[in-house]
Structure formats: structure tokens, C-alpha cells
């Protein structure tokens, strides 16, 4: 994505304002990446974490064995939910950190730093 932005600099007055800013500095590439992924891809990934947590176990038949353990149901559901939320946050964080690293490598430095 960063390479594509560098090769094809967007118009300042075009549609993607965040895209233009991201072409100005690699620091804002995470913002653009977040904008693009959170509209569709992150939603699906995040829904996967939430939706697969219990129904996935049930469809594989593992839930029965999980419930046999001496752990209360409320605690099981609560900890599964916490882990699902944590995984979702980590997914968002991975997008940002990756874009930050790539942006600092590929894209131009800060205009203010250049001065």
C-alpha cells in the first residue's frame, strides 16, 4: 500500500484526504491503513473472533468436554469474551504497527523534520 501511494501520489483535492496526508508522511500511513481496513476487513476478522468463540467449540463438539471441566459457565463465557475482545484489539494494533513500520521505511519523512 505504501509503495502504491509512493508510486502514484494522490491528488490533494481528491477523494481521499487521509490518503493524501499519508502520502505526505509515513507517520500517517497507519491512519489510512486503519481507515481502509476498519471499513470491511477488520469488521470480518473481529466478528470471526467473537462469533467463533463459543459456536465454533459447539460445532466441533469441544464445548461438551470444556463444560465437563470444573469451571463455572459464567466464568467460561466471561473469559472467552475477554479473550475475543483482546484478540480484536490486537488485530487493530497489528494493522497500525505494521503500517507504522512500513511507513517509516518506505514513505517520506515528516515535512517538519525536513526543515
Amino acid at each position: 500500500m505504501a509503495v502504491a501511494i509512493n508510486l502514484n501520489p494522490p491528488d490533494a483535492r481528491g477523494e481521499g484526504r487521509l490518503l493524501y496526508l499519508a502520502s505526505q508522511t509515513g507517520l500517517l500511513l497507519p491512519g489510512f491503513a486503519l481507515r481502509v481496513t476498519s471499513a470491511f476487513m477488520l469488521v470480518i476478522v473481529v466478528a470471526l473472533f467473537g462469533g467463533d468463540a463459543i459456536a465454533g467449540e459447539a460445532s466441533w463438539g469441544n464445548l461438551r468436554y470444556l463444560l465437563m471441566r470444573p469451571v463455572g459457565r459464567g466464568r467460561l463465557v466471561f473469559s472467552k469474551f475477554v479473550v475475543a475482545v483482546f484478540c480484536a484489539w490486537v488485530a487493530v494494533l497489528i494493522v497500525v504497527v505494521t503500517a507504522l513500520v512500513v511507513g517509516s521505511i518506505v514513505s517520506a519523512p515528516m515535512p517538519s523534520d525536513r526543515r
Binding site: 476498519s38 473481529v46 467473537g50 462469533g51 459447539a58 480484536a88 487493530v92
Partner: protein, 253 residues
Amino acid sequence: MSFLTAGSRTATILTHLLVSTAYVSWSLTGVVAFSFMVSCMTDAPFGAIFAGVGLYFTSLILDAISSLGNIRYVLPTHYFDRWIDLLTRGEWSADMWRRRGPPTRVRVALLPHRAVVVPPEGHQELTDWTTVAELATAGGTLVLAGRHFGATRSANRAARTAERAFEARLRPVLVQSRREDPVEKIMWGDRHWSRVPGGQAWVEAGDDAIYLAMSVRNVGAGMAVLHGWHAVAELHIGVDGHAPLETFRSQVT
């Protein structure tokens, strides 16, 4: 003044990025929570996943209908994009981002919900065909989501029935053997041997034991293990239950 050239330090941008990340994470937590709730209600993981994604897109479509007015402010995805102002503010007027609202003066929108001012109602035409089409699309999406959920539920029921039928098929069913069944040779624990013909039983009074044997036939598919026996001295016709389990003599010990 531009956000970038107004002497913004790297630290400022990084802070805004961090806040944006937290905001997006918190927004997506709603999707997680909803699909998790559906996940507790169904056996099919894909149903739960699509329920979360469906909620998101239905809310997006409904949010795009401007004639819904203030109702849209309660939609779960209405404020999903507000974090973008954090990274672009200064360079672009807020009118480009909120077509219906006045620009806000909040410097750091830690809680972007508060930054949105409900605009005064403008003049609007309600019988707009675009709006009608959008409403129909949203309604269709809702109906599709409902149907999908219903289909998942009935698929669950079918799977459960199939599982029960499968378990019933694995059960042993013991009946008395037929006359044509082969003669079986039997050895008791004290190395006493005898033969039981098909369809019959064997009773033999030995010197220090009474030997009982019976030929049975398993017409089910499962494996049967006979744990014990209970002999009754009179003729029993028809099924009238069985003796209490404590009175059975164990085969194993």
C-alpha cells in the same frame, strides 16, 4: 493551517494515532460483543460471524439514509468514522466531514461522541425515491439477516436430530435367538463346558453349582455387554418391566 505543517511534532501525531487506534478498537468491540452474543445462541460459527458483519452493514446502510434524521445517531456505526478528524483536522474544514453539522471546536476529541452537535432540522423532502430505494435495501438486508439466522437455527435442529438418530443406531438391541441360529459352545468359570442350541436356554444342575446359559441375538448395531442376570422361576409373557437392579447377580465379579 495544515495539521502537518503547523509545526506538529512526531509525538503529537503518534498520540493522535494512539487515540485513533483505541477508538477503532472500542468501536469494533461492539461488533465482537454482538457476534459473541449470537455465538452463545447458535451452533454454527458462520451464522454468528455473519450476524456481526450483518449488523455492521445494516447499520451502515441505515446510516446512509439522510431522511431518517436524528434516529441515525443511535445506530451503532454512526460514529465509527469520527476518529478520522483526529488525523486530518486543520487541513480540511469540518463541513466536509459532517455535511449536516456545524464544525466543532473540540481540540482533542477523546470522546468523539460528545463532539457531534445535533444540527437543526433542515428542510427535507420525505418522498424521495432514492430514500425509498435505500430504505427498501436496508429492509431487505434485515430480512436476509433474519432468514439467515432462522436457517441456521433450523440447521441446528436438523443436525441435532441426525445426531440422535445416529446414537440410536449405535445402540445394541438384544432379542432371543432363532431356532436356525448355530449351537454355541460355552465355558463357565470352573471350566465346565456345554452347548446351547439356537433359540433355547441351558440349565444344568452340577455337583456344586447350577449352570445357566441362554442364547441371545443382537439385532442392533452397537456392542452389548451383559453385566448381570436375574432368574425368575415362573413363566413371563409380554414385557412388564424388570426386577430391581440391586437384585441382579453380577456377571463380572
